[in-house]
């Protein structure tokens, strides 16, 4: 099948916007967890939830764009296992980018704290308040997050390896300003 020569500018912008937002939301999630209860903590929890829901919508848009715009082909001479690994990691990342916020939303409902997006749009509670389920979903949210973090580290490491070791154009086509 025909593959384009480059990522669309939209795909590139979405990649970096989502990457920065996920890393930020992740850091806020880790930070807020151990705060003593205070108005500030309640605010940060809400901001984390609003950011996560926004990310979910952004990722849906990104997926729709991705379905309409195939990525460029891998560089010549890239071993088959690496192509497969790259494709598997990308697909899993897309899945996790949806599963992480979904688990957060369900967890919030199970813990009895509805999600009200930006304090304005109440999201439905798909599950009723239930302490055990809330604790399970919290563990799930955390496990999915750490899986995603590990994959992102591997993913970024692979990108850097392409750039500095293989010296191909994989990083440059996602970061065009590197092009000389």
């Amino acid at each position: 099948m025909d593959r384009p020569a480059a990522y669309t500018l939209t795909a590139i912008r979405l990649h970096w916007l989502v990457a920065v937002a996920i890393i930020g939301t992740f850091a806020v999630g880790l930070y807020m967890h151990d705060l003593p209860l205070s108005p500030r903590k309640l605010q940060i929890y809400s901001w984390h939830k609003w950011a996560g829901v926004s990310l979910f919508l952004l990722v849906l848009f990104r997926l729709a764009w991705r379905i309409g715009h195939r990525p460029p082909a891998e560089p010549e001479g890239m071993p088959a296992w690496q192509r497969k690994a790259a494709a598997a990691v990308h697909h899993t990342l897309y899945l996790l980018m949806l599963a992480v916020p979904l688990s957060g939303w369900l967890m919030s409902s199970a813990k009895g704290f509805q999600t009200v997006w930006f304090g304005i749009v109440p999201l439905p509670d798909l599950v009723a308040k239930n302490k055990e389920l809330g604790d399970t979903l919290q563990a799930l949210h955390m496990a999915l997050n750490f899986t995603m973090a590990a994959l992102v580290v591997a993913h970024a490491g692979a990108a850097l390896k392409h750039h500095f070791v293989d010296r191909d154009d994989v990083l440059v086509r996602m970061l065009p300003f590197l092009k000389k």
């Binding site: 309640l42 605010q43 009200v116």
Partner: protein, 194 residues
């Protein structure tokens, strides 16, 4: 915690002018805690959170035929508050919220009951929370359920009026001032005195 039932019963008997109950009339006196509920909804960051007072005792004297002479008293054990999560329960027991150690109970004592028609009433009374006593009023509906009476109502309490949530919590930006209180009190008829 001491509840002065006897004292209160004597008081309510006084309020009724020590009148013997009219033959055949039903008077509801015993609030059945296990069938009753006092719940509340507060808003934090505009998110409604449900809570409840799990432990309370109530006394009333309510004769549907003579509602004007009715009295009600409710005493809430503040250690039994469920504010929606373990973390919140710990927090609201503290000084800034209910200061449960210094003020282990809250109480409501009615001072008057105005019929609004159609089994609806307005109950006025004195509410004491965290050592502060203020006038309070709430609508209540009455219906019969088997031999018991069910009183239901809801009203808005402003937490700041009672100093609930002081210091860093005093601002309403995170936790709103208005707290919706809902109650359902199920009362059994007075035992027959032969």
């Amino acid at each position: 915690m001491t509840i002065r039932h006897h004292h209160f019963l004597r008081l309510s008997a006084l309020a009724l002018g020590l009148a013997p109950l009219a033959a055949g009339a039903v008077e509801y006196t015993q609030v059945l805690p296990e069938k009753s509920a006092v719940a509340f909804t507060y808003r934090q960051m505009n998110v409604p959170v449900e809570g409840a007072f799990k432990r309370f005792k109530g006394q009333l004297s309510f004769d549907p035929a003579k509602p004007a002479g009715a009295r009600a008293e409710l005493e809430i054990d503040m250690a039994g508050v469920d504010a929606g999560s373990a973390e919140a329960n710990e927090e609201v027991a503290g000084k800034l919220w209910f200061n449960t150690r210094a003020f282990p109970s809250a109480r409501f004592v009615s001072t008057g009951i105005q019929p609004l028609g159609k089994d609806r009433y307005e109950v006025t009374g004195r509410m004491t929370i965290k050592g502060r006593t203020l006038d309070a009023r709430a609508p209540a509906s009455f219906r019969q359920d088997g031999k018991n009476a069910v009183f239901e109502g809801a009203f808005v309490l402003k937490r700041a009026d009672y100093g609930i949530g002081e210091g860093m919590w005093a601002d309403f930006g995170t936790v709103a001032n208005e707290v919706q209180i809902k109650f359902r009190l199920v009362a059994a008829p007075a035992p027959d005195k032969k």
